[in-house]
Symmetry: C2
Subunit: 107 residues, 2 copies
Amino acid sequence: MAIPTLDAFQVIGDPSRRKMLMLLSEDSLTINSLADNFDMSRPAVSKHIKILYTAGFISIQDIGRERYCTLKKDGFEELQAWLAYFDAFWASKLKKLETILNNKLPN
Amino acid sequence: MAIPTLDAFQVIGDPSRRKMLMLLSEDSLTINSLADNFDMSRPAVSKHIKILYTAGFISIQDIGRERYCTLKKDGFEELQAWLAYFDAFWASKLKKLETILNNKLPN
DNA sequence: TATTTGCGTAACTCAGAAGTTACATATACA
DNA sequence: TGTATATGTAACTTCTGAGTTACGCAAATA
């Protein structure tokens, strides 16, 4: 099971990984308790977790032989920054429209 | 060139498509003028455009034999809604922390 | 100490996204 | 009307992400 190096966008492109993040938003979970929520094998889940961890979406705390996964901000921030760029685009587009409308009013 | 049906997250998972959205944030462009910015063939760009269009990230205006692509809000809003959910998670996590700290103060 | 449990990794298969070339079509232009 | 331009689509190939099974190891437990 080769470990692909994916950017934050590719990471959340997978529906299973998004579901994992959703589950972790309710509770910190171990690999096995996470796997209970999926049809795929545990090693498959394990791989997704590694991808989420590498991309900064979760942190992992080892307690004995168990690994507790918890959401981490870093990964999300990269996505927010990207969306914020386009937010600015819509805002400036709206401003341009306002300017046009205001200039037309005197006519 | 089969047209895969991708959700908004998978759509922005591709670096080329993200670059296209960036280019379109500066100006509306035709398929060919977009293709000038990439190493891939024009049909490949054409396919990406179709995917972006289907997912609601761009609108297309036909002018003669040219097709002008413009950013469209719809696709972005799906992503924002998803991120907003996790924003709420961080906010509530912070609130819980505050509560804990406040409860400890009287001790 | 022997066994069970929780997890990681290696090796492999498979499906599909992403690219290509070749061709068809419609519009603009000489 | 003939040609060049802008684009879409079909058929095909390639690559890799996502899944599997088999195995190994460390920690818990009997």
